[in-house]
C-alpha cells in the first residue's frame, strides 16, 4: 500500500501541467461551494437572527380581547415571561413588542410612519447588539439623548425622513396615534439622533423609549402588546416549533375568579365572584330558584347563591357592592350590581358565590386584574377552583387558540376567532413560520438557488475530471501494460489510479478552502451602497459570509469521495487491460 501511495504521489508530479489544471478546477469548485454556502448561511443568519428578530421574533405570545375588535394586550406580562423563562431553554431575550402606526407632522409636511418602542436602560444600551445597530448608523445627534429629560419625548429618525418631513436635528414632530382602546392621542417628539437608512423598510420607523410609547398607547406598566421571544443563534429553524408547542401546552388557562367581599344591606362577607357564559344559562346548568339570569345586554347585573343571599339578607332586585383588591396597583375596586336571580348549585367552588354574565365579569377582571390566591390561601378559604374543561361552568382566564403551522392556517384561525362573540381573551403562541413565512420562504428559495447553481458548476467540473482521467489512462496504456507485465496485480493498478485522484482532489480541496476564505474576506471588505430590497441581504452594508466548520468538512469529504468514485470506473478499466494488449497499444 505504501508503494501504491508513493507511486500515486510521484505520478501526480509527472503530468504537472494537466494535474495543475485539473487541481485548479477542483479547487475552484471547492472555493465556489464554500463561498456560496457561507453566503447562503449568512443570508439565513441575517433573516433568522437579525431581521426576524426585529420583525416578529422567533416566537410570539399574544393575547387578544374582544374577538372581533382584536384588542391585543397582555395584562399580566410577568406571568407569561415567568412561564417562558422557567420552561423554555435557549431563550436569548424576551422583548416587549409595542409599536403603532402614526401620522407624523413635520414642518408643513406629513407622513404615515411606524413608532417603535425599545428599551433604553443602561444594560440594553451598553450591549454589543445595541452598539452594532445604532452606533454604526449614527449620522447626527447622540443616541444617549434618548433618555435626556431636557428633550420632549426624544426620538431617533432615519435620514430619509428629514427631507420628507422637512425637519432637522432637535426639531419637534407632532404625532397622532390611537391608543389600544381606539382613542385619539397626540404628542410632540424631539429628534435627538439621525441614523443612516439601511433599507426602505427601516427608514419608515421612528424609534423611541418603550415606556414612553407604552404610555402614549395607553398601556399600564404591567401590560404590553405582545411578547417576542428570541433564541440564541438559530441553526435549525424548525426547533422553534417544538418550543412553541411546549409553551402552548404550559400556558393552558385556569378558571378565572375574583376573591373579595360582597356587601348587602346588612354586612360585608368574603365572596367568590365568577363569570358564566350565555350557553350555561341557555342550557340551564344552574338551578335558578327565583328571578332570571343576568343579561348580556344590561350592565351591572348578577345572580347570587341562595344561602349567601340569606346571609346577606338580600333578594332579587336588591343591590350589592362587590369589592376586591387589584393585583397591580393594590387599589380597592368597587362594583355595584343588581341581583337578577337566586340560584343553587351542586359542587360549589365556594359557599359565598356571586355569578356575573361573563361580559360584565371580564370588564372588571381585565381592567383591574384581581390577585391570584396561592394553594394555601385557597385551602384556608375553603375555595375549590374547578379546572377549565369543555363542560366547565365558569369562564376561563382566556381561551387558547390552536397552534397553526402556516400563515394560511394562522389567518384562518384569526378569522374564526373574529367570528365569535366571546368578549374574553384568546392566547396565541406563534412562531416565525406563521408570522414571517414570507421571509423564511425567501431564505429557502435563496438556499435552493445557491445549491442548484453550485451543483451545475460542480457537475461541469466533474465531467472535466472524468475526461482527464480517461485521457490519462489512454496515454498511459502502454505503461499499464509494462507494470502489469512486471507483476503488478489488477487491484494494485486500480488502486494506483485511485490514489492519484485522491491526492489530487485532497490537495485541491485544501487549496480551495484557503482560497474560499481569502475570497470571502476580500468580498466582505466591499461596502455596497443600495437602498433597494437587496439591502435586506447585506449586513452593515457589506456581504455577510458565515462559514461553518461542519459544512466545510462535509464538502471536503464529499468532493474527494465524488472524485474517487468518478475515477473508479476508468481505473478499473485500466486495471482490466491485459498486459499484452496494453503493451501493443499505440496512438
Amino acid at each position: 500500500m505504501k508503494l501504491i501511495l508513493s507511486l500515486g504521489l510521484r505520478n501526480l508530479l509527472r503530468n504537472k501541467r494537466r494535474n495543475i489544471l485539473l487541481g485548479t478546477a477542483i479547487a475552484f469548485g471547492m472555493t465556489i461551494l464554500i463561498t456560496a454556502n457561507s453566503f447562503s448561511r449568512g443570508i439565513s443568519d441575517i433573516l433568522l437572527n437579525k431581521m426576524i428578530v426585529y420583525m416578529t421574533g422567533h416566537m410570539d405570545v399574544s393575547l387578544h380581547e374582544k374577538s372581533k375588535h382584536q384588542l391585543s394586550i397582555i395584562r399580566d406580562k410577568e406571568k407569561v415571561i415567568k412561564a417562558v423563562k422557567e420552561n423554555i431553554d435557549g431563550v436569548k431575550e424576551i422583548v416587549e413588542n409595542v409599536f403603532t402606526f402614526a401620522r407624523v407632522v413635520g414642518n408643513k409636511k406629513s407622513e404615515n410612519m411606524v413608532l417603535v418602542g425599545f428599551k433604553t436602560d443602561e444594560k440594553e444600551m451598553s450591549s454589543e447588539e445595541f452598539k452594532d445597530f445604532f452606533e454604526t448608523k449614527l449620522i447626527q445627534g447622540d443616541i444617549k439623548d434618548i433618555n435626556n429629560k431636557e428633550y420632549e419625548n426624544p426620538v431617533i429618525v432615519y435620514s430619509d425622513k428629514l427631507d420628507s418631513l422637512n425637519v432637522k436635528l432637535y426639531d419637534l414632530l407632532k404625532v397622532r396615534v390611537t391608543t389600544i382602546y381606539g382613542q385619539v392621542q397626540t404628542a410632540r417628539l424631539t429628534i435627538v439622533a439621525v441614523l443612516k437608512s439601511d433599507n426602505m423598510f427601516m427608514s419608515n420607523t421612528l424609534m423611541m423609549n418603550l415606556d414612553v410609547l407604552k404610555n402614549l398607547r395607553g398601556f399600564k406598566p404591567h401590560e404590553t402588546g405582545s411578547l417576542q421571544i428570541n433564541f440564541e443563534n438559530i441553526k435549525n429553524p424548525a426547533s422553534v416549533i417544538k418550543k412553541a408547542d411546549k409553551l402552548h401546552e404550559i400556558l393552558k388557562p385556569n378558571t378565572a375568579y375574583i376573591w373579595g367581599e360582597t356587601g348587602g344591606l346588612a354586612k360585608k362577607i368574603n365572596s367568590l365572584t365568577m363569570g358564566v357564559s350565555e350557553n350555561i344559562f341557555e342550557e340551564k346548568k344552574i338551578n335558578l330558584i327565583s328571578g332570571r339570569y343576568p343579561s348580556s345586554k344590561e350592565e351591572g347585573e348578577c345572580m347570587i347563591e341562595k344561602t349567601f343571599a340569606e346571609k346577606l339578607k338580600i333578594k332579587t332586585g336588591s343591590k350589592i357592592k362587590n369589592q376586591y383588591i387589584a393585583k397591580f396597583d393594590k387599589k380597592q375596586i368597587s362594583n355595584d350590581y343588581t341581583i337578577t336571580g337566586i340560584f343553587t348549585l351542586e359542587n360549589m367552588p365556594h359557599q359565598n358565590l356571586v355569578l356575573l354574565h361573563e361580559n360584565d365579569f371580564y370588564k372588571t377582571y381585565f381592567r383591574n386584574m384581581p390577585e391570584i390566591l396561592s394553594e394555601n390561601e385557597l385551602k384556608k378559604e375553603n375555595i375549590f377552583i374547578p379546572p377549565v374543561q369543555d363542560t366547565a361552568l365558569f369562564s376561563p382566564e382566556y381561551k387558547l387558540l390552536e397552534r397553526s403551522s402556516t400563515t394560511e392556517n394562522l389567518q384562518k384561525k384569526i378569522r374564526a376567532m373574529q367570528r365569535t362573540k366571546w368578549i374574553g381573551a384568546w392566547l396565541d403562541v406563534r412562531t416565525m413560520f406563521e408570522s414571517a413565512s414570507a421571509v423564511l420562504e425567501l431564505e429557502s428559495a435563496l438556499n435552493l438557488i445557491t445549491f442548484f447553481a453550485v451543483m451545475i458548476l460542480f457537475f461541469i467540473i466533474l465531467i472535466g475530471v472524468i475526461n482527464t482521467l480517461r485521457m490519462t489512462i489512454r496515454e498511459r496504456t502502454r505503461e499499464i501494460g509494462t507494470i502489469r507485465a512486471v507483476g503488478m496485480q489488477k487491484k494494485e493498478v486500480r488502486n494506483l489510479f485511485l490514489a492519484e485522484t485522491f491526492f489530487l482532489s485532497f490537495f485541491s480541496c485544501l487549496f480551495g478552502i484557503v482560497s474560499a476564505f481569502i475570497l470571502m474576506h476580500i468580498l466582505s471588505l466591499i461596502t455596497i451602497e443600495t437602498d433597494s430590497v437587496l439591502s435586506m441581504l447585506l449586513y452593515k452594508k457589506r456581504l455577510y459570509f458565515l462559514p461553518a466548520f461542519g459544512s466545510i468538512l462535509n464538502f471536503f469529504f464529499l468532493i474527494i469521495g465524488i472524485a474517487v468514485m468518478t475515477a473508479f470506473f476508468p481505473a478499473r478499466r485500466a486495471a482490466n487491460l491485459s498486459a499484452a494488449n496494453a503493451l501493443r497499444h499505440y496512438e
Binding site: 372581533k68 409636511k109 407632532k174 391608543t179 382602546y181 381606539g182 385619539v184 397626540t186
Partner: protein
C-alpha cells in the same frame, strides 16, 4: 335688625328656587344628550346618496360617491361605492356585529375591524356603530358637581355649549365640545380633542332637512385641526325613508349591485 331678618327671609324664600334652578341646570346637559340621541335615532329605514369631498394638502381634492342603505331597527347597513373609478363597485355590509368589506375585482368579502378605513377615507368602520351619546360620554362638571353649560349665539342661532368627556375608553375622542341649537337640539358644531387635550377636529353641520317630521343632516364639514389644511365635506342627497327590502342587507345583493 329688621332688614337683616328680611334678608334671611328672602334667602330662605329663594333657597328652594335656587336649589330647583341648580337642579335644573344639573340635569340639563344630560337631558340635551338624551334629546340628541332621540334626534339621531332612525326609527324608519333610510337610503341616500352620499358625496364625500376630501381635501388634503398632500393629495389635493378627491371626491368619493356612494349609495347607502340603513336600517337601525335591525342594525343593518350597506354602502356601495359609485366613484372614484378605483373604488367603484366596492362595498361595505354591516349586519349586527359583523362588518364586511366587498372587493369587486376579487369578488371577495373580508371581515373588517372597527379601525379600518372606509373607501380609503378618514371614516372608520367603527364610526358606523350604533351607540348612544349618553352611553359613551358624560357632561363635564364644575367643582360643585354641577354640569357646565353655557348659552351663546353661534352665528345667528341660539345654542347651548357644553363639554362632554368619555365615560368608556373605546371612543375615538375622549373629549368633545358641542354647540347644540336651543330650540330643536340639533348639533351645529362639534370640537373633538385627543387624550392629551389637543384639538383634533372641528365639525360643522350647517344644513338639515325635515323628512316625515324627522331631521336629517344634509351637510357636514369636518376640518382637520391637527394637519391644518385638510378638510372633508359630507353631503347627502336623494334621501328616502321608505321601508327597505331585507334582501338589501345581504352579501348576494351587494355582489349583484356591484356587477
Amino acid at each position: 335688625m329688621k332688614s337683616k331678618k328680611k334678608k334671611y327671609l328672602l334667602i330662605l324664600t329663594l333657597l328652594p328656587f335656587a336649589v330647583l334652578f341648580s337642579a335644573e341646570k344639573k340635569t340639563k346637559v344630560t337631558e340635551i344628550m338624551k334629546q340628541m340621541d332621540i334626534m339621531m335615532r332612525q326609527d324608519s329605514d333610510i337610503s341616500a346618496k352620499v358625496v364625500l369631498t376630501q381635501k388634503k394638502i398632500s393629495q389635493g381634492v378627491k371626491v368619493y360617491e356612494s349609495f347607502y342603505f340603513r336600517s337601525d331597527k335591525t342594525d343593518e347597513y350597506l354602502i356601495v361605492s359609485l366613484a372614484p373609478e378605483t373604488e367603484k363597485g366596492n362595498g361595505y355590509l354591516r349586519v349586527g356585529d359583523n362588518f364586511w368589506m366587498y372587493r369587486r375585482n376579487t369578488r371577495t368579502f373580508q371581515h373588517i375591524s372597527r379601525d379600518e378605513s372606509i373607501m380609503g377615507t378618514d371614516t372608520r368602520a367603527g364610526d358606523f356603530e350604533k351607540r348612544k351619546l349618553i352611553d359613551l360620554y358624560e357632561p363635564m362638571k364644575d367643582k360643585n358637581g354641577n354640569e357646565i353649560i353655557e348659552e351663546e349665539m353661534l352665528g345667528k342661532k341660539a345654542v347651548y355649549k357644553f363639554t362632554l368627556t368619555a365615560k368608556v375608553n373605546d371612543v375615538t375622542y375622549p373629549k368633545q365640545i358641542y354647540w347644540v341649537q336651543r330650540d330643536n337640539y340639533l348639533q351645529l358644531k362639534v370640537q373633538s380633542f385627543s387624550l392629551s387635550g389637543t384639538l383634533m377636529q372641528t365639525a360643522y353641520f350647517p344644513k338639515y332637512t325635515q323628512i316625515q317630521g324627522r331631521y336629517v343632516m344634509l351637510q357636514g364639514i369636518f376640518v382637520d385641526e391637527f394637519e391644518k389644511g385638510n378638510k372633508t365635506i359630507v353631503e347627502l342627497s336623494g334621501i328616502s325613508l321608505k321601508k327597505l327590502d331585507p334582501k338589501i342587507f345581504t352579501k348576494a345583493y351587494l355582489e349583484n349591485l356591484s356587477k
